[in-house]
């Protein structure tokens, strides 16, 4: 999995280093979690829990230059767990409407491009695992092999999730346009 980028790697060995790391990576981690979770509150929870885990277990990280993918992995896993838990509760409460996606109220502060509303609705209907691999591969730039390591799944499974997710998004987008 890719090591930390061109920036000087941060070692989580002091409070100051923690602040540096969080400030450097918080927006990125929040974006990653946001692409897996249904809303910002869940995403913020996933990042918070993930960073707490990383901080608590910082001494055990073998290769400090892999801090970034290590934290990405923890945050992704937590985001998937939170999403699954949320989905589970929702499916128990509303089992009769499986085809109705949950669409958040439009945020008036940021105008949505025309295609994005339909894409957003379709994207939220993907499984958390599918959203995770789409986010890691297509947004974060990890290769399929790296994504497979981050989500603890075989490469074939990651490819399958990507293919199914894109097929579903494309199909639903085309249906909306018709």
């Amino acid at each position: 999995v890719a090591a930390e980028g061109a920036e000087a790697p941060v070692r989580l060995d002091s409070d100051a280093a923690l602040e540096t790391f969080v400030h450097r990576h918080y927006d990125r981690l929040l974006g990653l979690a946001r692409l897996v979770c249904r809303d910002t509150a869940d995403a913020a929870d996933a990042v918070q829990i993930g960073l707490e885990q990383a901080w608590r277990n910082r001494a055990s990280l073998r290769e400090q230059d892999r801090l970034r993918p290590w934290v990405d992995r923890i945050v992704t896993r937590e985001a998937v767990r939170i999403s699954k838990r949320r989905r589970s509760w929702l499916s128990r409460l509303m089992p009769a409407t499986p085809e109705v996606g949950w669409i958040e109220p439009a945020d008036g502060r940021a105008p949505e491009p025309a295609n994005y509303a339909a894409l957003k609705a379709a994207y939220l209907r993907l499984s958390p695992e599918q959203r995770a691999v789409v986010a890691l591969h297509m947004h974060m730039g990890y290769t399929v092999a790296e994504t497979a390591q981050l989500v603890d799944a075989p490469e074939e499974t990651v490819r399958s999730r990507l293919r199914l997710a894109k097929d579903k998004l494309r199909r639903e987008l085309e249906e909306t346009r018709q």
């Binding site: 995403a43 829990i49 960073l51 885990q53 295609n115 986010a135 297509m138 947004h139 074939e156």
Partner: protein, 375 residues
């Protein structure tokens, strides 16, 4: 229009959408707030994760439980009475019903005869790993290890995959008295004495949302790190069959996976030996168990000397090449066969090509073996 041509504009649109969606985080706390929370949480006991929000949830849950205690208790009793038992229905017994692990009975995850167990050769598995196929010999299919896979290379993150004879019931459907446990015992110092044990069990507190307990025990010091309920990941990360998705390979529905998100126990390396274990208890009584292997350790790598005794070269197409090697009995050898293409004809491309790479187990009693591979 090809599918590739259709793919590119869609990928571009999807990429732009993801970039936009990832920035839709206006209500999130600031980086400073998060940093402060992390520092504060580090000062609190880890059992609550140090998170005020979790503490509120715990307090709220306790309050609700106090108010509805009688109702919940009655519901639990009714649920137990009406429960549809998972299939196959566990046989309650204090002794195993089958002859298991014939060398020794259950002594817990840590076998009392571990010191004398041999290191067994495992076959090569997927992605350069090791694969051990175990007999189906336990009375409960969900506690019957039929396969143990290890993946990873020295210095990299190790993964253990424990294949079960059958998909275990969904944990939330298990009766409260039923506990299924899976784990691995490690020997890291080369003396044959188990050094670490890690595993997971279906927690008896699962009705309170604590579905699994995971732990790592240092057997030398007796200290245990554990996590009861989420957030999981430490001290050992796992994947339980409950987490299977429809597009996962079918075998994942009966596979328990372990790995370490950190560097794992000290001493974990290419010389580490391990075996897997599983157990099923009802009301605290052992019903079924399994070790895999039944009697022996597995290793990350078994390196032995291999001597190439004879290699016949310059073979023509459709003829046979003969390769003779000598090594220790039952060693797994990785053999790569290629050829040089050399042509006297002008214009023909020269080069080398790997035509076959395979692993084979040397079966000869004295360690010698000869295989014929098609040219």
């Amino acid at each position: 229009m090809t599918s590739q041509m259709r793919e590119e504009p869609f990928d571009l649109l999807l990429g732009q959408f993801l970039d936009w969606q990832a920035t839709d985080v206006a209500d999130a706390p600031s980086a400073d707030e998060v940093t402060d929370r992390i520092k504060r949480s580090a000062a609190r006991p880890a059992i609550f994760g140090g998170r005020p929000r979790q503490l509120l949830w715990v307090a709220a849950a306790l309050l609700l439980l106090a108010l509805a205690g009688a109702v919940v208790g009655a519901a639990v009793l009714l649920r137990n009475e009406d429960r549809v038992q998972p299939s196959p229905t566990p046989t309650l017994a204090t002794e195993p019903t089958l002859q298991l692990s014939p060398v020794i009975g259950w002594t817990g995850p840590v076998r009392s005869d571990a010191t004398n167990m041999p290191l067994l050769p495992a076959r090569s598995g997927p992605e350069g790993g090791r694969l051990w196929i175990d007999d189906a010999d336990a009375s409960t299919a969900w506690a019957d290890l039929t396969e143990v896979q290890w993946r990873g290379t020295a210095g990299e993150q190790p993964y253990w995959f424990l294949g079960l004879a059958s998909k275990p019931p969904i944990t939330s459907d298990l009766a409260p008295v039923t506990v299924l446990e899976y784990g691995v015992v490690l020997e890291t110092t080369g003396d044959g004495v188990p050094d670490y044990e890690f595993g997971l069990n279906t927690s008896t507190e699962r009705l309170a949302g604590r579905a699994f307990r995971v732990w790592v025990t240092n057997l030398a010091t007796g200290t245990t790190q554990e996590q009861l309920g989420p957030p999981y990941g430490y001290p050992v990360e796992f994947r339980h069959p409950d987490e299977s998705e429809p597009d996962d390979p079918a075998s994942w529905a009966r596979t328990v996976m372990f790995t370490f998100l950190d560097s794992g126990p000290p001493g974990l390396g290419s010389g580490t030996r391990y075996y897997a274990w599983a157990s099923h208890t009802e009301n605290g009584d052992l019903v079924s168990w399994d070790y895999a292997p039944d009697n022996g350790w597995l290793g990350f790598r078994t390196l032995v000397n291999v001597t190439v005794l004879n290699l016949t070269a310059s073979v023509a197409r459709s003829e046979w090449a003969s390769l003779s090697i000598k090594t220790e009995p039952n060693a797994t050898c990785s053999i790569a066969i290629g050829y040089d293409r050399r042509s006297d004809r002008p214009g023909r491309r020269e080069g080398r090509r790997l035509v076959r790479k395979r692993e084979l187990v040397v079966a000869g009693r004295d360690g010698s073996d000869a295989r014929h591979l098609p040219a």
